[in-house]
């Protein structure tokens, strides 16, 4: 046994810490660092045998002159805007409503049901939605029938499919994304409301002067952090909900990268699209991190 503090013990202890870190480092290397270095493929022509050849910006020029890529970019921006900006107020409203409930039983029931879809895979959710939206047997169209409306084939309608994405995203995330606001609401001191009551403030005034300002930092943090993922638009959802009839309306960067890369085997071209997405994503994340730190004092790290 060595006394603590001797050089040998210290080296051995430091070595032990490194050993603890090794499995994580191996994982990071295989799935992150080496593939990151592999992004140079975007500037090369991929060859199965022999070294790949440098071709400079060829694949980027092809990318930006490809009409399909520009359509994909447009879809990504539209779908992301719907899922980040249009969706944004919904969990806030949900949390505010939950906060008004007096019945513990109803509250717990609503929470338990509303959080559940967050844990279902997009494969399951797609299965549930495809079945629910079926023009012949689905619940949505039967509800329309009760109102005397004709059935709609939502999954194959180009004008409806983006709203299907928005609706199913809301179905999955409304409850779960409200948790952060619910926690913020619980931190508001009741004395604020009590003194407002004494001043004769009505519900609307209390909302405008107390609740909204108290929630504002949380709202800003959520919005800013979500903007960092603007270029992603939700691969798993789109991948499982798209079909040949609607592909032109919902094909996003990640599904495009998958299709031209792994299905059409255009490795370099696909990697160029990935790199384009990665660079914009990086700028967005660094930008939103800086913005979040400035506004709320807390960033991503």
């Amino acid at each position: 046994m060595h006394k603590p503090g001797t050089l040998r013990t210290r080296l051995r202890q430091e070595g032990f810490l490194i050993v603890l870190l090794v499995p994580a480092l191996v994982y990071f290397s295989v799935y992150h660092l080496v593939p990151m270095a592999g992004m140079v493929l975007a500037f090369q022509d991929f060859r199965i045998v022999g070294p790949s050849q440098w071709v400079g910006l060829k694949h980027f020029r092809l990318l930006f002159s490809s009409p399909s890529f520009l359509g994909v970019l447009k879809n990504t921006l539209i779908i992301s805007s719907m899922k980040i900006i249009l969706f944004f107020p919904l969990p806030i409203a949900f949390a505010l409503m939950l906060n008004e409930l007096r019945s513990v039983f109803v509250r717990k029931f609503v929470q338990a049901t509303a959080y559940l879809p967050h844990f279902l895979s997009w494969v399951v959710i797609a299965g549930v939605w495809i079945s629910f939206l079926s023009p012949s047997t689905g619940g949505a169209n039967q509800a329309r029938g009760l109102l005397g409306l004709p059935p709609v084939d939502y999954m194959t309608s180009k004008s409806a499919i983006r709203w299907v994405l928005f609706a199913s995203e809301t179905w999955r995330s409304l409850g779960w994304d409200s948790i952060i606001y619910l926690a913020a609401l619980m931190r508001i001191s009741p004395s604020l409301y009590e003194s407002a009551d004494m001043d004769g403030a009505g519900p609307l005034q209390k909302a405008v002067y107390i609740t909204i300002p108290e929630l504002a930092p949380t709202m800003i943090t959520v919005l800013i952090l979500n903007l960092g993922f603007f270029m992603s638009a939700g691969f798993d959802q789109v991948f499982n909900m798209m079909n040949d009839s609607v592909i032109s309306a919902v094909d996003i960067l990640d599904t495009y990268v998958y299709r031209i890369g792994l299905l059409n085997m255009q490795y370099s071209f696909s990697t160029a699209a990935s790199l384009f997405k990665g660079v914009i994503g990086l700028v967005l994340i660094l930008g939103t991190h800086t913005a979040a730190k400035k506004v709320t004092g807390k960033g991503l790290w």
């Binding site: 994580a24 295989v30 593939p35 270095a37 609503v110 399951v124 209390k206 943090t221 790290w301």
Partner: protein, 303 residues
């Protein structure tokens, strides 16, 4: 409309009506979540002869039959996919927890040489996303193609979970660690005997999230596995329900061994597959509610 807190005061009729309206809206949200799920459950358990009576809004089975589930259980590919999914989930989660907690512990020790560089690395991994093709080519190069390991090891360390665990370890009182040091404990003892037991609730929560992630994963399985015998359940589900590839699921052998098979309804069979894929999530869901939501509500969210 919000923030209507009047504790201790008798509510007026208007307030009560307002609350009742809110309760109705919220219960409608619950119904929108539950009805499509219960509808599939009802469809899967209905008597095949009466399956035509099940509408899209039915929530209780018409008659009762387990034939759909028996057809699935008789399909070797389906059973195999459950075994694969359980294997991936159990082994994957164990590796996740071991590797993440070891790294979190090491990264929170000031004695770790090069700690700043490692932290920088963690941030780089958080903000830089490698493309799909380069990752695919690396996995191919190291010989993990068509191996369950390629799927098990994907997301071995979730960087966000790593940071949560690091914050947890940082909050362990220094005096506790110093006391153990004085008693001659090395890092190994401190990690195993002090940190891990203290981190049990955090590890349980992360384990549930890692576990749900593995169970729900299908995409890496679809690109890295070529042998259908190795497919996890979610991938079979995708082929059957999303891609509508019925041949993949129903072997001819299974079809002839059931009297009711002639009357089998594909919609009902698909519904049963979806239900089976949800069951493990439903089993751990109460635990998630207990650990995570309670932790968030009582301890405040760590933004």
């Amino acid at each position: 409309m919000a923030g209507l807190k009047m504790k201790g005061k008798p509510s007026s009729t208007r307030d009560r009506l307002f609350r009742a309206a809110i309760a109705l809206v919220l219960l409608a949200v619950s119904a929108v979540v539950l009805v499509p799920l219960l509808n599939l459950l009802a469809l899967s358990l209905s008597d095949p002869a009466r399956v035509g009576e099940v509408t899209g809004l039915t929530v209780l089975p018409k008659g009762f039959s387990t034939v759909n589930y028996r057809v699935l259980a008789a399909n070797p590919l389906f059973v195999r996919s459950i075994v694969n999914a359980v294997l991936i989930t159990v082994v994957g989660t164990a590796i996740n927890l071991a590797v993440t907690s070891m790294a979190a512990f090491a990264l929170t020790r000031s004695a770790l040489p090069g700690r700043r560089i490692f932290m920088l690395l963690v941030i780089v991994i958080m903000v830089l996303e490698p493309g799909l093709i380069p990752e695919y080519l690396v996995v191919k190069k190291i010989g993990l193609m068509n191996s369950l390991w390629a799927v098990i090891l994907y997301k071995t360390v979730n960087v966000y979970y790593l940071i949560i665990l690091m914050r947890f370890f940082e909050e362990v009182p220094q005096s506790l660690i110093e006391a153990a040091r004085v008693d001659g404990a090395g890092y190994g003892t401190i990690f195993l005997k002090i940190m891990l037991p203290l981190a049990k609730p955090a590890l349980a929560t992360l384990g549930l999230f890692y576990g749900v992630f593995h169970w729900n994963e299908y995409f890496r399985a679809s690109i890295y596995l070529s042998d259908p015998d190795k497919y996890p359940l979610q991938l079979i589900l995708r082929q059957f329900v999303v891609l509508d590839d019925t041949a993949s699921l129903i072997g001819s052998g299974a079809l002839f061994s059931f009297d009711e098979a002639a009357r089998l309804d594909y919609g009902a069979l698909k519904a049963s597959t979806i239900i089976v894929a949800m069951i493990p999530v439903l089993i751990v869901y109460p635990l998630i509610l207990k650990y995570y939501t309670k932790g968030v509500m009582e301890g405040g969210v760590k933004e």
